[in-house]
Symmetry: C3
Subunit: 358 residues, 3 copies
């Protein structure tokens, strides 16, 4: 199948030079989308990120700590990488999205260093029109690459996208077969990373891989009340242009919807208190933005340990964690009501593999 360049699509709208984004009928399974605007990331994105989230994981905070762990310097936070790549896909994938439905099979493949330039490419891997005929679900597998052409992150997400014209034919339904979780055997620790000389004292906590039990629940205690300027700055930092985050005239309620990634970063940063040694994210197994957030909400986080695995590197283990963000303290792992729907204060249900010293 020929590649559909963003540029080619834009030409279709001859009435204007601006892009109205893609609609459901613009996607075909197998289609490759090259996303626009490469981005060079530096220590500066880290500094802005640190001002926006209470991040303290030592591996990304300190070049010296990273060197002690075998790296040449502090890599950029995994979520800086994820958001940057995600942001590139928004104009092509989710500008007309009704909802960002989920993530799966997300893998961090290599570290990103200050000075690296990232690009993103997506393949459409699934399509399913809704019974209403007004919209459909689009699955894409997105890959982020650095300037050397190395893949640095890859993940699947699916979104519900409006149809431009309800009379266009219904495409054949293709629902991709997605793993519940990335197999532990496929997790990739940053090349050279070792926790042999790891200093718990500098990292902030003594709890290591052995100290966490499957089923254990951690309430991360701290909360942060959201404001509009902060989430807009964060969203723009990733060159994510979805209107609904910036323009009070887009929604009938006059509120700016907060980018789901803002909540992910907040929850990850808040999880330091209790998971300070979970130094990097290895995989995003699954993720759901279960309810929207707006300015004025106060976000808290909690974690349940779902699974444990050893890694090839003998000093490192992996924890599979369910990271929850909610509008009230996360004191239990009950997230849904009896009818299977998320409780109204649960805003994020994220399933991750994280790396931690053994």
């Amino acid at each position: 199948m020929a590649r559909m360049h963003a540029s080619a699509r834009y030409r279709a709208f001859q009435m204007t030079k601006t892009s109205a984004g893609n609609f459901f009928e613009d996607y075909r399974v197998g289609q490759i989308i090259d996303h626009a605007v490469p981005r060079t990331l530096t220590e500066a994105e880290r500094a802005v990120y640190t001002s926006l989230y209470p991040c303290r994981h030592a591996l990304q905070s300190s070049d010296e700590f990273a060197r002690q762990c075998g790296l040449r310097r502090a890599p950029l936070d995994d979520l800086i990488v994820f958001h940057t790549v995600f942001g590139k896909t928004v104009p092509d994938v989710s500008l007309n999205a009704v909802a960002n439905l989920g993530y799966a099979d997300g893998r961090f493949l290599a570290p990103v260093w200050p000075g690296d330039t990232l690009t993103a490419i997506s393949e459409v891997i699934g399509l399913k029109q809704n019974s209403s005929g007004k919209s459909g679900i689009v699955w894409v597998r997105t890959t982020g690459r650095n300037q050397h052409g190395e893949d640095i992150v890859r993940y699947v997400r699916w979104v519900m996208v409006k149809k431009r014209d309800q009379t266009t034919p219904v495409p054949q339904t293709v629902v991709p077969d997605l793993p519940t979780a990335v197999p532990a055997s496929e997790l990739m620790l940053d090349h050279g990373l070792t926790f042999a000389g790891y200093d718990d004292r500098l990292a902030g906590e003594t709890h290591r891989w052995d100290d966490y039990k499957i089923g254990e629940h951690i309430d991360h205690i701290d909360g942060i009340t959201l404001t509009d300027p902060e989430h807009m700055m964060a969203t723009r930092l990733w060159q994510n242009t979805a209107k609904v985050h910036f323009d009070i005239n887009v929604r009938p309620d006059g509120l700016r919807l907060i980018y789901g990634g803002h909540i992910i970063s907040l929850a990850r940063a808040l999880s330091f208190n209790g998971l300070a040694n979970a130094q990097s994210i290895l995989a995003i197994n699954a993720g759901t933005h279960s309810n929207p957030s707006v300015a004025g909400d106060t976000i808290y986080a909690g974690t349940t340990i779902l699974d444990k695995a050893r890694l090839d590197e003998p000093t490192a283990g992996a924890l599979r964690v369910r990271l929850i963000a909610a509008k009230s303290p996360v004191t239990s792992d009950k997230l849904k009501s009896d009818d299977g729907k998320y409780l109204s204060d649960i805003v994020l249900d994220l399933d991750l593999w994280v790396a931690i010293p053994v």
Copy 2:
């Protein structure tokens, strides 16, 4: 004429060590003002800038893209340079300004790289006391320089400045002769910049110089609702200290007036959607902040193509564009009412030359 150093003027106010700024009668045609506080700019100013505006032009976003275009790395955004130089002039030129009336003959002369240090100098080139006797118009030509003493930007602006004492003599009126637009033959493309290997796909759109017609109008669609913290951060980033942007006690309505440059940057960034390939600003031909903006306003942008020209570099052309920012979508190029006054929702009328691949 002897130079008037900022420092010399301050000595005049013996009652206090602080500066109350200059008044209309402090200016003389021919006077040279050396503005204080040199500033080193880095990738970090770009990152903060990216968090404040939805900027995505590839030449400034990616070192790799810039290298493909013949530059050694991504230069700093032209407006980062403009605002930095402008900010230096505020304590000497516009601290007692009643209004920032206009810009003309603005030229970007050389790229600014991360690590460069900028200084600014102005010459008073015009004076005209108002008939009220309470204020007058001051024209200055400001030049920004890098650490090698190279001029990197030059522009004229004029402001209405209060008189300290209405009884001081009226100066001879000198109104400078300013060009309507910078002649296309004098536009300076960054040394070495070429679009020979230009990648539309990475840049985000396929529309090039040939695709734009004189008289064509582009509605850039997206809007951003303004907040106080964001415009204050932006204004401080340029070390611009005009009180009216920061202190709710300055204006009778208790509102913080938004720095006009904030609107310029917002409009330029919003113009990506429809002018993604207009990679750099070559000239500011004219500019008017036609109405004030405050937090809560939502800003939209539109462009009319005024003129086209080829440049010495055969792969690059120039578009003369009228970039409008307004508090409602810019769906027409009618900006003024029948009596010649700007419509109340038009906040910026900016006339630029931009460079775009042929």
Copy 3:
């Protein structure tokens, strides 16, 4: 006495992996606390800082200006260093603080350059239980170090900390003997710093050491109205996690208390107007956060010259200044009512030594 690692204390709370911070009875005189999470600082922290405060001191603004003054480049602002070190101590010292009572004997010992990594260590030097039995005062001497193990800042602060259990024994009272001010003979100018080639014009004012008289009062004129996003970003920039700054549910009034350091930085930056040549802070002799601040308050600054001293470097002098921040213009040095209490609009009373060209 054995060192009490942060990590060791955390183990004590077996019910949870998260830290509830230390209480009064957890401290012993002589105890050493190694604070967690080293931090690499770069030009990016300076850029974010510049966006948050109206800072214009030339030595930190320009690499070229700093080279003219004998340094290899612009050092990071002294307060960036102070806040970073302070932030590291919060989880161990002030998470359960009822009040941050004061600072003394603060010394800036060496410059911090972009790229340096800072760690912090504290020694408990005083304890005094309050008569209520519910809390006590803890004095700590904190030292910040760079990656070479060099001490770069050292200061004493004391806080009132809650007791976990009122029935625990009252510790022996130890009140440290603290100097009213750092002796001028012990002030440390950055190695190599000279004002021999100092350019007043670039610095912004002509007032030098000789121009300031003991007892002189300077009203710094400008005011800045505080917002929640800005103080939260500032506080997080230093990885300071005290709940009360971020979560509207912590205080009964639903307000976010502003980190005292935010006010310190604001006052220092505002003091440029009248003290532009006070290029660096040599010592924090004393400091009191006399009243809380919240979003919506407008902060002004004023300075009284307390003392003057010459330094070993013949081109540099020191001014001892009382830097006041208040919710109204600081037009007098009357800070307290007749009963000795701070007036309600005075928020900061800070006693500094600053370096200024002779």
